[in-house]
Symmetry: C2
Subunit: 167 residues, 2 copies
C-alpha cells in the first residue's frame, strides 16, 4: 500500500518532470541548439532524421492539429531547419524533411539527452543500472497505458465533484 509516502512520491515524480523540462529549457536559452525552442526541437524530433513525413502524420505524433503544425513548419522552413514540398503522387499531401542544418540540430539534441542520462547512470553500479533501465521501461508503459485509458474513456466519466464555475 505504501500509503503515507504516496503523496510524497507523487510530488517527487512530478518535480522530476518539471526539472527535466527546466534543465532542457535552461540549456536552450544558453544558445545550445542555436535559436530553437523546445517545441521546435520536438517538431524536429517528430520528423526524424531520415525519411520525409507528411503534415498529418507529424501533427499526430506531436499531438497537435495540422493548423498548428503549419505555422510551426513555416517558421522552421524560414529558419532553414526543414524543407517542405508537395508529394508528386498525391498532390494534397505535403512532405517535410530535415535539412542538413535540421539534422545537425537533431543530433545535438539527442547527444544532450544522452549526456543527461549518462550523468544519471554514472554513479550507479552495473546491476543498479540494469534495474533502473527496466524500471523506466515499466513506468513508460504504465503511463502510456494510463494515457490511452483517458483517451478512450472519452465521455464515460463526467466529473462528480466539479461544481459550476465562471459566472
Amino acid at each position: 500500500m505504501l500509503n503515507p509516502s504516496d503523496q510524497e512520491f507523487a510530488k517527487s515524480l512530478l518535480r522530476i518532470f518539471d526539472n527535466v523540462l527546466l534543465t532542457e529549457e535552461k540549456a536552450l536559452s544558453k544558445g545550445y541548439f542555436s535559436n530553437l525552442s523546445i517545441a521546435e526541437l520536438h517538431t524536429l524530433e517528430a520528423i526524424g532524421p531520415y525519411d520525409a513525413r507528411t503534415m498529418s502524420e507529424t501533427a499526430a505524433r506531436l499531438g497537435i492539429t495540422t493548423g498548428t503544425l503549419t505555422v510551426a513548419i513555416d517558421r522552421l522552413v524560414r529558419k532553414a531547419y526543414v524543407e517542405r514540398y508537395r508529394d508528386m503522387k498525391d498532390r494534397r499531401v505535403v512532405r517535410i524533411r530535415l535539412t542538413r542544418q535540421g539534422k545537425l540540430a537533431y543530433r545535438m539534441h539527442a547527444k544532450f539527452h544522452t549526456l543527461l542520462v549518462r550523468r544519471l547512470l554514472d554513479p550507479l553500479d552495473e546491476s543498479e543500472k540494469q534495474r533502473l533501465v527496466s524500471l523506466v521501461k515499466n513506468i513508460d508503459e504504465f503511463i502510456a497505458e494510463q494515457y490511452h485509458k483517458y483517451s478512450e474513456e472519452e465521455n464515460a466519466i463526467t466529473a462528480k465533484d466539479s461544481g459550476g464555475l465562471e459566472s
Copy 2:
C-alpha cells in the same frame, strides 16, 4: 558504462515526461478540475492550500516573471480560485491565497497524482516499491543539481558547434 542502451534509455525517460504531461492534459480536457489549465493548476500548487503568498515568492517558485504571474492571477481571481489583497504592513506587497474553490481544485489535483502513483506502485511488491521510491528521489536530486549547473554556468559555455542561423 551501458553504452548501447544510453540512447534507448534517454528516449524512454523523455517519453515518460511527455506521457505524464499528456495524461494530465487529457484528464484536464475531460473536465476534471473544472476549467483549469495545467499552468493554472501549477499556479494553485505553487500558492499552496495554507498560507497566503506574495507575488514574487510565487513567481520564483514557478520560474516565471511577476509580470506573467500578474496576468495569470488576474484570470484565477476572475475564475474565483484565488483571492488577492495588499499586505497591511508593507503596502508594496500583494498577497494571494486560494479561495475555498481553489483549495478544492488543489485537493482534487493532488488526489489525481496520488491515484496515478498508486496505479504505478500497485503491481510492485513491497521491496520493489521501496526501491522505486528511493530511486525517484535520487533522480530528482540529480536533475535538480543538473539544473543548477546550467543556471550557474550562465555564460561559461559558448556553444562550440552552433553555426550562424537566420540569414
